[in-house]
Structures are given as structure tokens and as C-alpha cells.
């Protein structure tokens, strides 16, 4: 795959004055959600509700907060993104494709033999993936490792590492080992974003294994820790941007809804790991298209 080859000369990061507005970000989030629905409908496999849950967080990162250069995925001074909840790979793939890390058509190959888009992110196959994930609980530790290396390279002040975690991640003990180590090593440039949608594979987190006050837990581990509405785009952007100014480990607990943006899935148990049926995909697409039309109109009027 030719596009896997690193570009030889680093290009500068995209100019910051072209930053999209909150309304534009909301529209991008809808576009990414639509990609997820169509990818999963073709693949007939994958985690749709998990991807939709994280769509606003991932959009805020890729379209506004992250300093990255799609033409040069290996630019040493890029911010790092780690999807600890690797099963939500479709939402990251959609963001990467929209930025031109690889052709948008590649999305249709998701989860099939010969495609570089594996069921879970694979750093050796897909440009823009920093580390392979898929086994819950490992992403925050990997992020700590990235930050320690950045410190050795003198890049702690310039580069931020953002890790997106799920409820399941927070149930794995390793996440708390990572939290302890980030505080111990006084890592200034790590942001943990928890996609706290209160649903896991077998039920609600409250039924299966209650993760409780995740914000307070991170705080107890020595992190700056805030809790926000994970679908409020301006709150998400603000919290993410604030986190990189703190100079200490930062947790953003996002209250979210699984399946966000598709009415029959939103906040409902029973969709985890199940691809949409053709009818469900059609209905989801219709709803998202309506959302996007309204967003387009609002943007056009301004």
C-alpha cells in the first residue's frame, strides 16, 4: 500500500486561523456518523453504537484540537491520539479518511480480508494510527509511554497525547495503574477522555460493574479532572483545549449516550457489537441526513 510510506519532508501543521466553528464541527460530527453507518452496513459487522457515542469527541479532536498533518502522518511534533476503546475504530477511520490519510473509498473495506481497516486499529496497516488497540485497558498505559518518550525527545511542551477510554477501559485495573504512573511521572501532556455512556456489552455499567464517580477517581489519582456533557461540542472543545494548558495529567469525563444521533439506538441497551440491519441502516441514514440538512441550512444562513 503506497500511502503507508512516510512522506520524507515534514510539512507545517495546518494554519490555526482556519479553525472550524462549533456549528461546523457539529456538522462534521454528523458526516462522520454517516460514514460509520454506511461502513457498518457494508461490513455487516462492528460496533456502531460505540462509534456514535464517541463521534463528538473524535470530531472535536480531529477537526479542531489536534495538531496533525495528514500529508505527513509521522510528523514528530504531531499531537498523539490513542483510541483505547479500539472497538470504536470506525469513528476514527471516518475522521482519518475525511482528512485524507487514506481514500474515503477505503472505508467500505472495513473488516474484510485485504483491507487495511481492521476490526480494531492497527498501527502497521493504517496511516494515522499511533498504536494498535482493541484489548480494553491498555490505551492509557500506551499513552503514558508515548509521553515519556516525548519527554526524552524534548517535546513535552509542544505535543499533547489524547486517549479516549470507555467504561470497560475504566473497569480494567490497568487503567488505574496508568493513572497512578502518569501522576507519579508528573506527565504534563496527557489527556484521558472517558466516553462514559453507562452501557457495556452485557447491560448498564450500574448492573454489570458500576464504575461509579470516574471523575472523582481520576482526581484521587492526582489528575486534574472535570466532567462535561460529551455531546455539547463547545464544552468538549473547551475542555480539550484547556487540558493542554494545565501542565499535569488531565481527565475529561464525558457523559455520553451510546448510539447518539440515531433515535432508536440512543441510550438503549441491545445494540453493542451488532451491525445495523439494512432497514436500521436506512433509518439511521435518513435521520442523520435530516440532521445534516438542518445543520447545512443553519450554516448557510449565517
Amino acid at each position: 500500500m503506497s500511502h503507508l510510506k512516510p512522506v520524507p519532508d515534514p510539512k507545517p501543521a495546518p494554519a490555526s486561523d482556519q479553525q472550524p466553528s462549533i456549528e461546523e464541527l457539529e456538522r462534521y460530527a454528523t458526516v462522520l456518523r454517516m460514514h460509520c453507518v454506511s461502513m457498518l452496513a457494508v461490513a455487516k459487522s462492528g460496533h456502531l453504537d460505540s462509534s456514535l457515542s464517541a463521534a463528538d469527541i473524535v470530531t472535536a479532536l480531529y477537526f479542531r484540537v489536534l495538531r496533525h498533518d495528514p500529508r505527513n502522518p509521522n510528523w514528530p511534533e504531531r499531537d498523539r491520539f490513542v483510541l483505547s476503546k479500539g472497538h470504536a475504530a470506525p469513528i476514527q477511520y471516518a475522521a482519518l479518511a475525511e482528512h485524507g490519510y487514506f481514500p474515503v473509498e477505503d472505508l467500505q473495506g472495513l473488516r474484510s480480508i485485504g483491507s487495511h481497516l481492521q476490526g480494531h486499529p492497527d498501527m502497521n496497516r493504517t496511516p494515522g494510527i499511533e498504536v494498535s488497540t482493541g484489548s480494553l485497558g491498555q490505551g492509557l498505559s500506551m499513552s503514558v509511554g508515548i509521553c515519556l518518550a516525548l519527554r526524552l525527545d524534548g517535546l513535552s511542551d509542544t505535543v499533547q497525547t489524547f486517549a479516549v477510554l470507555s467504561d470497560g477501559d475504566c473497569q480494567e485495573g490497568e487503567t488505574w495503574e496508568a493513572a497512578m504512573s502518569a501522576a507519579h511521572y508528573e506527565i504534563p501532556n496527557i489527556t484521558a477522555i472517558v466516553d462514559y455512556n453507562h452501557l457495556q456489552t452485557d447491560g448498564t455499567t450500574e448492573e454489570v460493574m458500576d464504575t461509579g464517580d470516574v471523575r472523582a477517581k481520576f482526581e484521587a489519582f492526582g489528575w486534574d479532572s472535570v466532567e462535561i456533557d460529551g455531546h455539547d461540542m463547545s464544552a468538549v472543545v473547551e475542555a480539550l483545549e484547556r487540558s493542554r494548558t494545565l501542565g499535569r495529567p488531565s481527565a475529561i469525563v464525558c457523559q455520553t449516550k451510546k448510539g447518539r444521533g440515531v433515535s432508536f439506538m440512543e441510550g438503549r441497551f441491545g445494540f453493542h457489537g451488532k451491525p445495523p440491519s439494512p432497514e436500521q441502516a436506512e433509518q439511521a441514514m435518513e435521520e442523520l441526513e435530516a440532521t445534516k440538512r438542518a445543520q447545512d441550512e443553519a450554516l448557510g444562513k449565517r
Binding site: 474484510s112 481497516l117 481492521q118 476490526g119 480494531h120 470497560g168 460493574m209
Partner: protein, 335 residues
């Protein structure tokens, strides 16, 4: 022993279903049976037990290491835990907890490891466990069982209550054809000759057993090769006597597994052959590689884990067979 009362299946069905069904039967028969899962209870089928016996079911969430050490505590306090999750998390994710807490203590914990191998499919390399047999074979005291179909998986689960010591049982995700007509009371020594043959032995386990039978039929039809098909359901402790009997008869073998050859069934058979009856053993399985995303069947094909793969290897083995001098079997080996 309580008889396995379930109806045998005739249509293709996943082995993990048998685990869930037999667990419920065990729960009814024995109060000390408890079950655990790590947020995959619908996938592993332990949810059937959870629904029937909510008080004796513990879903610990995505926390496999915790689950294994909790199982240790339960077993040390007189319960018989069945701990279930995907094979990848049941073996590599929590190896040390299984090793010290369960195997070292020789506790009666049963690990129900579902979604073994690449036929897990689309989730890809991060979820496809292809070295669990090796890991668990290497662990002292751990017994390793890989049933071939639903009916044998039911027997394995049901009978596991009667066996001593820790057991790792590997089940599969996709529906697979039925090999055994009956649900037997016991696995016996765990090595069954399913088809007699004089030319070559095919040792297979799990999802490769029905494919081996399919391959043997075609080999007879197309090449006139009479292949003996041996299902090795208990890989550890391996009934080497039964293995040697087949090797002595045919003088050459092929092994087939949905797993790395290194440390897997292939190596287990080679070990017996090398020490006690050195004949060539050709192994079909995963090489030094990880899995990939694809449908179950596409993944099996991608790695050559098909009846065609077995046929090709058998043909190659038959060409090389005459070149090998057969040493006499030492009398003691087959005693």
C-alpha cells in the same frame, strides 16, 4: 456420574452454545457450581447460567484478571467456578492470575474460553487467540480440552465437573457441523479415531476435525489414500498410547489446528513421535503471524485452514513418506 441428559444436535451449531447449555445442567445438579464472566456473557453463553442462577453468577465487567483471581478465591472456599470470556482474555490477558491462583494451587476452576482461533472473524488480530493451547499446555497442571463439535463440547463441559484439577476448555464462535452422533457421558482419554485408515494419520482438534473428515473422504475418492482421522479433544494430558497406535499403523501424520503450530497440537504430536516413534509429522496451522479481519470462513481460507489445506499437506506427506526409514517401535512405548 450424572448422565448428560441433553438432546444431541444434528445441525451445525457453535461449540460455545454447548458450554452454556451444559452449564445450566451442572447448575441444576450441583449447588457448588458458580459461573463468572467478564462482560461477554452473551457471547460465551454463560448468560444462560446467569439467568437460571443469578445468585451464583458473577459478571465482573471488563476485568479478566480480577475474574480469575476471584475464581481462585471461590474454589479455595469450596465452590466450583466456571470462568468464561474470549480465549484471548482467558489465556494471555490473565495468564499470571490463572498460573499462580489456579494452576499452582491445583484448584478445580474451569475456564470456558470461547471465540478461540481466527474463526472469531471480523474483530481481527486483537481478538483472535492463536496461541492459547500453547500457553495452557505449557502451564504446569493445567488440562487443555478442545472439543470438535457441539455434542462433544457438551460432554466436555458436563464431565468437567467430575474431573480433578484446573481445566482450560476452548470453544468456537461460528456454527460448525456435527461430528458426533451422541452426547457421550465421558471424553474418555480424549483421543478418538473417527475414521480408520492405513496410509496416513490426520490428527485434528476443534474446528479442524470436520474438515479433516471431509478431506479424508476426498482423498479416498480422488487419490485412493486411506487416511485415518483422529480427533484429539484432550490435548493435555495427551493420551500418547492412542497417538502411537495410529502412528504405528500409518507411519506418517498430518496435524490440523486453528492455532499456531508452535506449542499447539502439531508440536504435541511431534513430541510423542519424536520420542517414541520417529516418523514424519507435517503440521497445518498458523505460522509466525497474527490473524486478520474477515468473516470466519474468509479467515480460515486466508490461512489455509480448510479441507483443501489438509488435502494438500497430506499429498505432500505421502510423497515424502517412502523416503523415511521406519524404526521399529520400542515395545515399552505401547504398553
Amino acid at each position: 456420574m450424572a448422565p448428560a441428559t441433553a438432546e444431541p444436535k444434528t445441525e451445525p451449531i457453535a461449540t460455545r452454545q454447548a458450554y452454556g447449555d451444559a452449564l445450566v445442567a451442572l447448575g441444576e445438579a450441583h449447588e457448588e457450581v458458580v459461573a463468572l464472566d467478564a462482560d461477554l456473557a452473551v457471547s460465551t453463553q454463560s448468560m444462560k447460567f446467569g439467568k437460571a442462577f443469578p445468585d451464583r453468577f458473577f459478571n465482573v465487567g471488563a476485568a479478566e484478571a480480577n475474574m480469575m483471581s476471584i475464581s481462585c478465591g471461590l474454589a479455595a472456599t469450596g465452590k466450583v467456578p466456571y470462568a468464561s470470556t474470549f480465549a484471548i482474555f482467558a489465556s494471555s490477558r490473565s495468564y499470571d492470575q490463572v498460573r499462580l491462583g489456579i494452576a499452582h494451587n491445583e484448584l478445580k476452576v474451569r475456564i470456558g474460553a470461547s471465540h478461540g482461533g481466527v474463526s472469531l472473524g471480523e474483530d481481527g488480530a486483537s481478538h483472535q487467540m492463536i496461541e492459547d493451547i500453547a500457553l495452557m499446555r505449557a502451564m504446569p497442571k493445567m488440562q487443555v480440552i478442545v472439543p470438535a463439535d457441539y455434542n462433544q463440547a457438551y460432554t466436555a463441559t458436563h464431565e468437567s465437573f467430575e474431573r480433578e484439577g484446573p481445566i482450560y476448555m476452548r470453544f468456537g464462535r461460528p456454527s460448525t457441523p456435527i461430528v458426533y452422533d451422541e452426547i457421550a457421558e465421558t471424553l474418555g482419554d480424549g483421543v478418538d479415531v473417527l475414521r480408520q485408515g492405513k496410509d496416513i494419520s490426520i490428527f485434528a482438534c476443534g474446528h479442524m476435525v470436520w474438515r479433516a473428515l471431509d478431506a479424508a473422504q476426498k482423498l479416498e475418492r480422488e487419490d485412493g489414500i486411506e487416511a485415518e482421522v483422529v480427533n484429539v479433544a484432550i490435548i493435555k494430558p495427551l493420551a500418547s498410547k492412542a497417538v502411537l497406535e495410529s502412528l504405528a499403523k500409518t507411519g506418517v501424520a498430518v496435524t490440523a489446528e486453528e492455532h499456531r503450530v508452535t506449542g499447539g497440537l502439531g508440536d504435541a504430536i511431534r513430541q510423542v513421535a519424536a520420542e517414541q516413534h520417529p516418523v514424519p509429522v507435517f503440521a497445518l496451522g498458523m505460522g509466525d503471524e497474527f490473524g486478520v479481519s474477515g468473516t470466519a470462513e474468509a479467515c480460515m481460507e486466508h490461512f489455509g485452514l480448510t479441507s483443501t489445506g489438509i488435502i494438500d499437506l497430506v499429498r505432500e506427506a505421502m510423497v515424502k513418506k517412502p523416503l523415511v526409514q521406519h524404526p521399529p517401535i520400542r515395545g515399552s512405548s505401547l504398553d
